[in-house]
């Protein structure tokens, strides 16, 4: 059973068109939920960590929120340079604090 599911798999937005990416998780011992950005041919780049339901974090045009079942990455007025794959991961205290990653959402922002 997948511990982390991301949707949609791919998203195309016009520049300035706001939207949200979803990350749902099923681990029972959530230690933290992480969002990363990955550009083609590069390693994931850290964006946010959320630890408990109700927590929110913001960085420029990005805002991450967390509930007991899922997290959202809200993108406000995106620009073409926001195009990338966004990865979600959870750290599970019930399995030796291992990290489980979703398959990502590929975002394309069209000028």
């Amino acid at each position: 059973e997948d511990q982390v599911t991301q949707s949609p798999e791919a998203l195309r937005l016009q520049e300035g068109e706001s939207s949200s990416l979803n990350c749902s998780y099923t681990v029972s011992g959530l230690r933290g939920l992480f969002w990363y950005r990955q550009d083609p041919g590069k390693g994931p780049e850290f964006l946010f960590t959320l630890y408990s339901a109700g927590e929110e974090k913001e960085k420029e045009r990005l805002k991450a929120t967390l509930t007991k079942k899922e997290s959202f990455l809200h993108i406000t007025a995106p620009k073409p340079e926001d195009s990338a794959t966004y990865l979600c991961a959870v750290q599970d205290a019930m399995s030796g604090n291992q990290f489980y990653f979703g398959t990502g959402t590929s975002l394309t922002v069209i000028p």
Binding site: G32, K42, G43, F46, T49, N97, Q98, Y100
Partner: protein, 116 residues
């Protein structure tokens, strides 16, 4: 700071050959990880280490071995490479705050491995 570095960046092996991937970090992090990334599968944990001299199995450890003889280095070995091990390999490191929270993982640039 260089952060997390990986060598080599690219490698092509023949089935049955062996090789070692090197990961180095200069942030004095206790925790280090090896992942593989395959299309449609996401990042999957191979092995990890919670400190110098320690290693543990992750989600997909078969066919790989690791060693952490120095705190700053984490080596991933393939003893007899198979085509199923064709993948992009990422190393990461992290630390804990007060033994409870992991603020983030820092990733290296990756090694693209092809096994023919």
């Amino acid at each position: 700071n260089a952060g997390v570095t990986q060598t080599p960046k690219f490698r092509v092996l023949k089935t049955g050959q062996s090789m070692t991937l090197l990961c180095a970090q200069d942030m004095n992090h206790e925790y280090m990880y090896w992942y593989r990334q395959d299309p449609g599968m996401g990042l999957r944990l191979i092995h990890y280490s919670v400190g110098e001299g320690t290693t543990a199995k992750g989600e997909v450890p078969d066919g790989y071995n690791v060693s952490r003889l120095k705190k700053q280095n984490f080596l991933l070995g393939l003893e007899s490479a198979a085509p199923s091990q064709t993948s992009v390999y990422f190393c990461a490191s992290s630390y804990e705050l007060a033994g409870v929270r992991t603020p983030s993982q820092f990733f290296g640039p990756g090694t693209r491995l092809t096994v023919l």
